[in-house]
């Protein structure tokens, strides 16, 4: 007797909803518009988030980038202000002695090397680095090429890896791999070209513009001694502070500075930065979502309005139903159901429209347009769908609940009194 009779509620709803199609249509459109706005805002947020995260990862993640500095504290009788620079050999020592290190890479830089292909000469950055650089700095070779490897380094081979923009400048549309390149007059062989990538963080300049050779070859050609940059990559991100401390201790002993001296080396710790970027992007997405949800809420107010009007119009009818023995739940149920139906039908229309818009926007080429490249493409995802459906459900419930509560409070004796 007391069990809720869902079937009855549905039957009563089906009868009631046949009545007012025109008004319902407008309300459904309002909800569809709100859903479209919500979904598009979330989709743009998602596209932006993916692009930001990808761009941040372009330089490589969880690295410490170490520059030469000057001592800030006196040490064992030596005054402050001495320049501190790591040498080629220090990389090997750091690798052996510092705990928790995945790898350590040294870089030497020639800021204006002249690179010549036939009659075309370009002045560009040339970097000599340990071959592990490719992996930690996210230099993925295009098909048909490779990055520098251990043999190149140990045998001081004259091989060069080019950034994609630089390769284009030197070779145009021809494939550079296997071709010769004169580096400050010395012939090198191009072994690979970097795959195009989105890069947000950088030091020295964008990776697309530089050329890389084995650090041993570089040293032999130019006779440099000091490293421009040392890269530290810990095995686990949370070990980064310990690795940096270990690095200062090891090199403090070798180069003669106070291991607590933070000015001896300039260090940019990027560990966790990708997470920060992701969180910022999620924050932006949340903000966009709230704006969208507010738009949708306006549609919900429309639904509530139509339901209030319905209740007012049907006051006598509701009174009659009550007199005939309808329980309060059988009065409120169909009203809430009707509100949910408007909301969900509108939501479905909005979703279809959003999918169409996103697909159409996806067809616009963004290659080459820097602003659009970072904005990314609006992207719909399952979590966005779930979030939208939840907001729609909530709006529908609320828009139905309050009018239904009014309907349930109708006093049948009052409404049936004959005036």
């Amino acid at each position: 007797m007391e069990r809720p009779r869902i079937g009855l509620v549905f039957r009563l709803f089906a009868r009631a909803s046949r009545i007012q199609r025109k008004r319902a249509f407008l309300t459904v459109m309002a909800i569809a518009w709100g859903s479209l706005a919500l979904l598009l805002l979330l989709a743009f947020g998602e596209g932006l988030k993916r692009q930001l995260v990808k761009a941040r990862a372009g330089m490589g993640t969880d690295l410490a980038i170490v520059w030469p500095g000057e001592t800030g504290k006196p040490w064992r009788g030596l005054p402050a202000g001495r320049p501190i620079r790591a040498r080629f050999e220090d990389v090997e020592v750091v690798r052996r002695r510092v705990q928790g290190l995945e790898t350590c890479v040294g870089e030497m830089t020639n800021w204006r090397a002249s690179l010549t292909n036939g009659r075309k000469t370009v002045n560009s950055r040339l970097i000599g680095a340990n071959f592990e650089y490719g992996e930690i700095r996210n230099h993925i070779p295009q098909a048909g090429g490779r990055f520098l490897d251990a043999m190149d380094e140990s045998e001081r081979r004259r091989v060069v890896f080019l950034g994609d923009e630089l390769a284009k400048e030197l070779y145009g549309d021809e494939p550079p791999v296997g071709r010769q390149l004169l580096v400050d007059g010395t012939p090198y062989t191009v072994v690979g070209v970097m795959k195009k990538k989105l890069q947000m963080g950088m030091y020295g300049g964008p990776d697309a513009d530089h050329a890389l050779v084995p650090i041993t070859t570089f040293k032999a050609q130019y006779g440099y001694e000091f490293l421009t940059v040392v890269l530290l990559k810990p095995e686990r991100r949370e070990d980064m502070p310990a690795v940096i401390r270990g690095f200062r201790e090891v090199l403090g002993t070798r180069l003669g500075f106070d291991p607590t001296d933070e000015r001896a080396f300039g260090i940019w710790n990027t560990a966790g930065e990708a997470d920060v970027i992701r969180n910022i992007a999620i924050g932006i997405q949340l903000f966009l979502g709230i704006i969208g949800a507010l738009t949708l809420l306006i549609g919900g107010v429309g639904v509530a309005n139509i339901m209030y009007a319905t209740v007012k119009e049907r006051t006598r009818e509701i009174g009659v139903r009550m007199a005939l023995g309808a329980r309060p739940g059988w009065i409120t149920g169909p009203i809430v159901l009707e509100s949910l139906a408007y909301t969900l039908v509108g939501g479905l229309l909005g979703m279809l429209a959003a999918i169409v818009v996103v697909v159409l926007l996806g067809m616009i080429p963004v290659e080459g347009n820097q602003a659009l490249e970072f904005l990314g493409k609006p992207t719909l995802s399952v979590p966005i769908g779930i979030a939208t459906a939840s907001i729609l459900g909530l709006v529908g419930l609320l828009a139905g609940y309050f009018p239904a509560r009014r309907a349930a409070s109708i006093d049948p004796a009052e409404t049936l009194r004959y005036e």
Partner: protein, 254 residues
């Protein structure tokens, strides 16, 4: 699940009265205005009676009808319907009592305009959890009983006033209630249709129905077996229960 009992008209099966009211009072208190609509009603109506409740406007007879029909609850006093106290029932229970025990007929019919006569009559059966097969059987049966078997698919707007009131009576009968409670059932009808409806009530009463009618209509109250008059919230005259088959017109001096 509700089970239809064929009522023999001699009460409710346990021998007691269908309606028993003792010291019923009803006060409407809006904060500023305090209206005593009923000031102590004692009334017992047995099975098979045809009671007309009469009285001038504002006498409290509508309030009494709302209380009898469980649309409202009394401020004080005891009300038993079929021997069961109504006091303290929650809204769901009151709905169930209205659904099962009371058949309402209103002056302005109160049919739902968008649905057919058939669907209107079916409504209380839906609320009463009656199975689909039984609903169809009962709906067709009561519509035939009021002579509208050929108007079942008509909407209320396509029916005459008399026909609408007969649909309303069929709807009131659908759940086979203990009492048929009518509020000025002939008030909106011309005299011919009104006469038909009165005849229908009398017919139903002669078949053993318990009927309570609130009316100004002397023609209708003369057909009743008992007349109760209310003034200022009190019963001022009660002709009392008559032997079966006797009309009040025999007891009331003109």
């Amino acid at each position: 699940m509700h089970v239809f009992r064929k009522r023999n008209g001699k009460g409710n099966g346990n021998g007691g009265p269908v309606i028993r009211m003792e010291g019923i009072t009803k006060v409407y208190d809006t904060g500023k205005v305090r209206v005593e609509a009923l000031r102590g009603i004692d009334l017992a109506i047995g099975g098979g009676e045809f009671v007309a409740i009469v009285g001038p406007s504002g006498s409290g007879k509508s309030t009494l009808m709302n209380l009898i029909g469980c649309l409202d609850t009394p401020t004080g006093g005891d009300y038993d319907l079929l021997g069961e106290p109504v006091k303290g029932l929650d809204r769901n229970r009151l709905s169930a009592v209205r659904n099962r025990r009371v058949g309402f007929v209103f002056q302005n019919f109160n049919l739902l305009p968008q649905i057919s006569a058939y669907e209107n009559v079916e409504l209380p059966l839906l609320f009463g959890s009656v199975s689909a097969k039984e609903r169809k059987r009962r709906t067709e049966e009561v519509l035939a009983r009021v002579g509208l078997e050929d108007r079942m698919e008509h909407k209320p707007t396509e029916l005459s006033g008399g026909q609408m009131q007969r649909v309303a009576i069929a709807r009131a009968l659908a759940m086979d209630p203990a009492i048929l409670l009518a509020d000025e059932p002939t008030g909106n009808l011309d005299s011919t249709s009104g006469g038909d409806i009165m005849a229908l009530f009398e017919d139903l009463w002669r078949q053993g129905r318990t009927i309570v009618v609130i009316t100004h209509d002397a023609a209708l109250s003369r057909r009743a077996s008992r007349v109760v008059e209310i003034r200022d919230g009190r019963i001022t005259r009660d002709t009392g229960a008559r032997p079966e088959g006797g009309n009040a017109r025999e007891a009331l001096p003109e």
